[in-house]
């Protein structure tokens, strides 16, 4: 600890011990504790206490009966734990009887302060910290803390209850670590007394008839098996396994969720060899005992396991698929297996296995779909993957929800009535359908997929979120539609589909609901980016009204829509898909160029999103050498930088720097490849002499923009500008032709102006700059230092422990003054 802090500490301890000066802000106490943790991790706690007796005084002081705030009490308990984590310090505190008085029955445990959850929590965390060595174990046994922890497992505060469970696991693990001669036997006598006590308690809880107790025991075990992988855990499982298995014989199975968690954590534990402990049998038994709503998560967990018997995997997969099999069965046109389950399992499936209540049925179906969606991309997913029936199930569900399904059976009709218009299932099924596009399916089924997607895109009843998901799924299916590998073009069926899709898109672009217009534009952008160069797509798009409607949405009243329209128009224009507009908005036939329109948005739009979108489009255009830009690139860049530099939105300014960087790289002839393994073109096109390049940069006033950004009040902008200038300096350093003496009058005036800018007065422009002056200024600036300063977080000065202590004292001091004012 540095001397300054040591000096402040006694005053702070006095403040903390004074009940009349309550700490307003307990984040200070947390920071203080963190600081003590770092100190004790680095050095001896004992020394710390000896050098700063005020700390022990504080700990002693809190034990006196007084109105100390529960926060300070809790803090003191935790602080004691931090110190006592080192065995010598533990002994030191033990000598002073401080530990039993703080954590024993004489301490807060029996007092009124115990009613505050924060004190109970501090007590647990203090013990958690100090329980690091054998002496601590003896202490815990002697002061009867373990029994208190048992009771705290059922605490009314969830934080306290959960921490109590974790502490038990920690103590168990600590006491087992003490065993010198390998794992214990199954006999109780072989176990250390503390561990024996805890395991005994768990056994008792597992035998209990009260579900909360069983849940607590299962949670403790789950934490144990997920955190401890020592050999003793296997013995523990062998010992407790019969009790866990016995839970399955109860009807209903108590604490099913916790049981599932436990079994999965055991199965995942590397410390256990699953085959020898009857785990697979228990898992199989559990999967068959639990209701479909409870078993889904377990089945998913089993399928994610790496080494699991094939039979169990098959069983788990069947459980996971069962709800969808029910749906297929209920809606099947004729008898015969749906193909989702094997024939024996399929026979036992009936449609009425789905819960009869709407909420339960919808919940089950949504969970099932989400589980399968998680499973699909995994390497260990079941093989063969039933792609075709799953696709069928997703389509059927969507048809049922959309009202286009026509089930023949009564069960199907009931299901239809249950699911009709259900947005949750629609969303889940569309997500799932989108994921299924990673695999393909038979053509007739794919046709059905596109038909149901089109139905959703068309339906006036599709909610905006459902519609968005339908767009996403459609895009994914279009992506996966080429049948010839390596060919990125849309196949003829997809083009036919596109012909039907575009009128729908047209209508959606005119929707009164802005979310719909927005997601339609996003979809259009995605499509154009992907297939904008493809003849079939281009032809269909140009034959539709979509480009013109998109152009009109640049003037949408909703800023998000305008932003999406900007992005979409930028993309369309890049691909040469913009149509000159002749809509009613431009009766004279006179119309602005898109560039002009976007510049207008950049300078006049009141919202940030459209302006940011414009900057992104411009950057992309510059990168792609867009026709509108290539004509007079310098004028374009100069115009954009001038507007962007005055923008109030820092993201627009930052994007301006991105555009400046692209221009700089192009002008200097730098190839920009962030990937070290990328193939660079053999020779970067020579970009003319450096002087010319710099003159070009000066003409577009790039430096003025960058220097201004360097002193931007938003750190990301300043950082970006700093990086840009550093890059430029590095690239020009090698050039000797531009070496100029530093002391030219021009350089001095620029430096003076920059000084003023730095001070906050940015009114005065820099005027026309010469390349030589710029380089001289660049060389004279401490850009590295600036970058270092910017890299520090903004509170780096205020973060020091000394400042923390001062702050804490100051707040109390102010309070004291206010108090004095009152008299």
């Amino acid at each position: 600890m540095d001397p300054e802090c040591s000096q402040l500490l006694p005053a702070l301890c006095a403040v903390l011990a004074d009940p009349r000066q309550p700490m307003a802000d307990d984040t200070c106490l947390e920071k203080l504790l963190d600081w003590f943790k770092t100190i004790t991790e680095a050095g001896s706690s004992l020394l710390l206490l000896q050098e700063n007796p005020c700390l022990v005084e504080l700990l002693c002081h809190v034990l006196k009966p007084q109105d100390l705030s529960s926060r300070v009490l809790s803090f003191s308990l935790r602080l004691t734990g931090v110190f006592a984590a080192q065995e010598d310090c533990f002994q030191y505190l033990q000598q002073g009887e401080l530990l039993p008085r703080l954590f024993g029955e004489a301490g807060p445990l029996g007092g009124a302060a115990w009613t505050a959850p924060t004190v109970r929590s501090g007590w647990i965390q203090g013990l958690r910290s100090l329980a690091q060595h054998p002496s601590a174990l003896h202490f815990l046994a002697d002061c009867g803390a373990v029994d208190t922890i048992f009771s705290l497992q059922g605490d009314s505060s969830l934080f306290v209850a959960s921490a109590a469970g974790q502490l038990l696991v920690h103590i168990l693990s600590l006491s087992m670590r003490g065993l010198a001669e390998g794992p214990p036997g199954l006999q109780a006598d072989d176990w250390p007394p503390c561990a024996q006590k805890i395991v005994g308690h768990i056994e008792e809880s597992l035998r209990s008839t009260a579900t909360p107790q069983i849940t607590q025991a299962l949670n403790v075990l789950t934490t144990t098996f997920s955190h401890c992988h020592d050999p003793w855990t296997q013995v523990l499982w062998v010992r407790l396994h019969p009790l866990v298995a016995a839970l399955l014989e109860k009807d209903p199975v108590p604490a099913a969720h916790s049981l599932v968690d436990l079994l999965l954590s055991v199965a995942r534990s590397p410390g256990l060899s699953s085959s020898s402990c009857g785990l697979w049998e228990t898992l199989a038994q559990t999967v068959s005992h639990l209701s479909p709503t409870q078993a889904g998560l377990l089945a998913l967990g089993i399928l994610k396991l790496q080494d699991c018997p094939q039979a169990l995997r098959a069983q788990a997969f069947a459980v996971l698929l069962q709800p969808l099999a029910c749906v297929l069965k209920a809606t099947a046109q004729g008898p015969g297996p749906s193909g989702l389950l094997d024939s024996t399992a399929a026979d036992s499936v009936t449609a009425d296995m789905l819960p009869p209540s709407k909420a339960a049925c919808v919940g089950l179906l949504c969970r099932t779909l989400a589980h399968l969606e998680l499973l699909l991309p995994l390497p260990q997913r079941p093989c063969p993957w039933p792609q075709v029936p799953l696709l069928g199930a997703a389509v059927t569900l969507l048809q049922l929800c959309g009202g286009s399904g026509s089930p023949a059976s009564d069960a199907g009709r009931q299901l239809c009535a249950l699911l009709l218009g259900c947005v949750r299932v629609q969303r889940a099924a569309l997500d799932f359908l989108g994921t299924l596009s990673q695999e393909t399916g038979p053509p007739e089924l794919v046709t059905q997929v596109f038909a149901v997607l089109l139905e959703y895109l068309r339906s006036p009843d599709s909610s905006p979120t459902v519609l968005k998901k339908a767009f996403q799924a459609t895009f994914r299916w279009l992506l996966s539609s080429p049948r010839t590998p390596g060919c990125s073009d849309l196949d003829s069926d997809a083009v036919l589909f596109l012909r039907e899709l575009l009128p729908v898109l047209q209508k959606r672009l005119c929707s009164p609901c802005w979310e719909v217009r927005d997601s339609s534009l996003e979809f259009l952008t995605q499509m154009t980016r992907r297939w904008g160069g493809q003849a079939g797509f281009r032809h269909a798009l140009l034959a539709s009204e979509v480009p013109r409607l998109t152009e009109q949405l640049l003037r949408d009243p909703e800023s998000y829509v305008r932003a999406s329209a900007v992005t979409a128009m930028g993309q369309l224009s890049s691909q040469g898909l913009c149509v000159p507009s002749a809509g009613p908005e431009h009766p004279g036939g006179q119309q602005k160029s898109l560039l002009g329109e976007l510049l207008h948005i950049l300078s006049a739009d009141s919202e940030g999103f459209p302006r940011r979108a414009v900057m992104q489009v411009f950057t992309q255009w510059l990168r792609d050498s867009h026709a509108d830009v290539v004509g007079d690139t310098e004028q374009f860049v100069a115009g954009v930088l001038q507007v962007a530099g005055q923008d109030l939105d820092w993201e627009v300014r930052a994007q301006g720097l991105e555009l400046a960087l692209v221009f700089l790289e192009q002008t200097l002839g730098l190839s920009r490849s962030h990937c070290p393994y990328a193939v660079t073109p053999p020779v970067a096109a020579p970009a003319g002499p450096l002087t010319q390049a710099l003159q070009s940069l000066c003409r577009v006033r790039l430096f003025e923009f960058a220097f201004r950004a360097l002193f931007d009040c938003d750190r990301p902008v300043a950082q970006k500008s700093c990086d840009l200038l550093l890059l430029l300096r590095a690239k020009t350093a090698s050039s000797s032709s531009l070496q100029e003496p530093r002391s030219s009058p021009d350089v001095a005036s620029v430096e003076a102006a920059l000084q003023r800018w730095r001070a906050g007065d940015q009114a005065q422009p820099l005027g026309d700059l010469e390349p030589e002056v710029v380089l001289a200024v660049l060389r004279s600036m401490d850009l590295e230092g600036l970058r270092g300063a910017l890299a520090e977080s903004s509170d780096h000065v205020e973060k020091s422990p000394q400042s923390l202590l001062q702050d804490m004292l100051a707040t109390v001091g102010i309070r004291g003054e206010n108090e004095a004012d009152c008299y």
Binding site: G403, R413, S459, P460, R508, P512, E545, D556, P557
Partner: protein
């Protein structure tokens, strides 16, 4: 007494039923089924060469005697005549006996002139003020549409049963063509409307002292009502055209429908699969799409109702959709009145709009659209309209059947261009049938029917809420629609199952009247001497004359008997006036068997045996060979010819009973 319901209309949303209830005959609504007009050629406002040059239709054998009456257009056959309407059934019941007609909303009164003017009807019609005013507008518009295009020809040959059989569908299948009638005149409308008595929501109207009727807000249209028809012990609810959506009218009053014995349910949504919100979105999207592409939009509609909501949606939408420069035209002979009436019925509007009355702004925003010249209205396309007319534009005009009104002209004018769109929002007519005489048509057609009436999910919630004992509804509601037979959700599902009816059917409603309220004259009441037979329950015998007049029953004191003078006379007098006979006292109470046996023993009877029977007990006096049968409501003493013994036993029995 039974409750009967006569169904005069098969159209579930344009009902016409007659209820016979407690000697009153009440007609519930008189809707006019106008779908019959779809069989006729449109009446063009401006001479249409296309329509007048349609070829005549001839029979398969080539005989062309019908070619003056029937014309063919794109494979469909139409009657070339003044359009005719299918009236409610007039044969099922003598309509002159109808005492009152209750109207639930302005769409359900269009047949009123036919009933009040041509059947000998002499009763009263009850309706709310907006219903009458807007109903008048609808009738006026209808009469105007038809009368301003006089048609010399009236076809009747095709109606001949033998000939009709030879015609192609749908003419062949048209029902009751012989009863179809031409439109009424304005004079008949005025006369019919003069028979209406205005009522307000929750107002109680006594009908002949027998029945009380009350209109309740139904939430569907301005002034639309459901009706409660009740006596002291029976309650019939008539729910017709109700809506739970938040649109412009006052919300539906559901609570008052509780405790109904019978709930008659008609006027549910005609398009149960179309959600009105989605349809409004669809309407706006398609409108904007068309206009942005430089096309015109035609919206065939009624002059009142959904149009208010559409204008309100457009008011919010046009600026955001960049349509501020597009003119909106509303063309109807009653356009002005309709727009203005809507603003003055504040008390009939939803809460939100009612509160606007206290602000300096009108309840409906269409006023602002008119002020800013975005919405213009004209009585007809002749006159000012033709000089103001600017394209592209949006035109709201009638009639939704596309058979008469200004809409016919716009269909002819814009039908040839695929830039234009006709958007159907009224659900009353099949849009495909409406378009049939305009084929081939290049114009785009969008069907977004907006029907805010109850759907089946709302009905099932409503029924759960109000819990009527019986539900009666048109047969169409008891099964899924034929085109969607798997949609079990598109039918009424209630317990006990709803009773259904169809056109020209008489239905005995499934409950019996058991009680009637009777008043007692004060002097008679004074003379009563009640006796408490149980705590809180007293009884008294009454001798009185029951006087019934105007469905009110009154107990009056009996006329005083003539003074008795002699034995003979007295006997005769008592025979003549049985009311005045001195009655034996009435008995009440029950006989506790054990105590009765003890009493018998005390009075010297011995050898008593008690047997239990299904209904009570038998006490056997074996020595006396006598049997006393005690049941809940009777006691018999059976002994052989020993009157003395019987009387003794009787007196012992009577001791246990109360007399009064």
């Amino acid at each position: 007494l039974k409750l009967c319901k006569y169904c005069l209309s098969g159209h579930p949303t344009l009902p016409c039923n007659v209820l016979k209830f407690k000697s009153t005959t009440i007609m519930l609504d008189c809707g006019l089924d106008m779908t019959s007009t779809l069989n006729f050629l449109p009446l063009p406002l401006v001479q249409s060469p296309r329509l007048s040059n349609l070829p005549g239709w001839s029979l398969k054998d080539g005989s062309a005697f019908l070619d003056k009456e029937l014309k063919e257009c794109s494979g469909h056959v139409f009657v070339d005549s003044v359009p005719e309407f299918c009236l409610p059934e007039t044969e099922l019941i003598d309509l002159s006996t109808v005492d009152v007609i209750l109207i639930s909303n302005y769409h359900c009164m269009m047949a009123l002139p036919y009933i009040t003017e041509h059947t000998g009807f002499t009763g009263t019609v009850y309706a709310t003020e907006p219903t009458v005013q807007i109903g008048r507008l609808l009738m006026e518009e209808l009469v105007n549409f038809i009368e301003r295009v006089p048609k010399a020809q009236s076809a009747s040959l095709w109606k001949n049963k033998d000939i009709q059989r030879l015609l192609p569908s749908p003419l062949k299948d048209a029902v009751e063509v012989s009863t179809w009638r031409r439109c009424y005149t304005m004079q008949e409308v005025n006369s019919a409307l003069s028979k209406i008595q205005l009522v307000g929501y929750s107002q109680k109207i006594e009908l002949f002292g027998a029945v009380q009727v009350t209109p309740l807000s139904s939430g569907y249209a301005l002034g639309s009502s459901n009706w409660i028809i009740q006596s002291h012990y029976e309650k019939v609810s008539y729910v017709s055209g109700s809506s739970l959506l938040t649109t412009h009218p006052q919300p539906m009053d559901q609570a008052s429908l509780k405790n109904s014995d019978v709930l008659i349910l008609t006027g549910l949504t005609q398009i149960p699969t179309a959600n009105p919100d989605g349809m409004v979105g669809e309407f706006c999207s398609n409108l904007a799409l068309t206009v942005r592409n430089g096309g015109n939009v035609l919206v065939p509609c009624y002059p009142s109702g959904v149009i208010y909501d559409l204008l309100e949606c457009l008011y919010q939408y046009i600026d955001s959709a960049g349509l501020s420069n597009i003119p909106f035209y509303f063309i109807s002979p009653v356009a002005n009145s309709s727009l203005e009436f809507s603003q003055i019925f504040a008390e009939w509007l939803c809460h939100n709009k009612q509160t606007k009355v206290y602000l300096p702004e009108p309840p409906f925003p269409h006023a602002e659209l008119i002020q800013t010249n975005k919405l213009k209205h004209y009585p007809s396309l002749h006159g000012d309209f033709s000089s103001d007319f600017r394209q592209p534009c949006v035109v709201f005009t009638g009639h939704p059947s596309l058979r008469f009104g200004d809409v016919v002209h716009f269909m002819e004018l814009w039908g040839k261009s695929s830039l234009n769109t006709v958007i159907f929002t009224e659900p009353d007519f099949s849009y495909l049938e409406a378009l049939a005489p305009y084929q081939p048509l290049a114009m785009k057609c969008i069907y977004c029917p907006i029907d805010t009436r109850l759907n089946f999910i709302q009905v099932s919630k409503l029924l759960k809420e109000v819990q009527p004992l019986h539900v009666v509804c048109p047969e169409q509601y008891t099964q899924p629609p034929p085109a969607q037979s798997h949609r079990m959700d598109l039918m009424i599902d209630c317990q006990p199952p709803a009773m259904s009816y169809r056109r020209a059917e008489v239905l005995a409603l499934p409950f019996k009247r058991r009680y009637e309220k009777i008043e007692i004259m004060p002097e008679l009441a004074d003379a009563l001497v009640p006796m408490e037979i149980k705590p809180g329950i007293s009884l008294a015998t009454v001798s009185a004359v029951l006087h019934t007049k105007d469905n009110k029953h009154v107990l009056q004191p009996p006329p005083r008997p003539a003074q008795p003078s002699g034995g003979k006379k007295r006997k005769r007098a008592s025979e003549d006036i049985p009311d005045c006979k001195v009655l034996k006292p009435l008995l009440s109470g029950s006989i506790p068997v054990e105590q009765f046996v003890q009493t018998l023993e005390k009075h010297g009877f011995s050898d008593i045996k008690v047997e239990d029977t299904a209904k009570g007990h038998i006490v056997l006096l074996q020595e006396a060979e006598t049997l006393i049968q005690i049941e809940e409501d009777s006691t018999h003493i059976i002994c052989d010819n020993d009157e003395m013994l019987r009387v003794r036993l009787r007196d012992l029995v009577l001791k246990f009973l109360q007399k009064f």
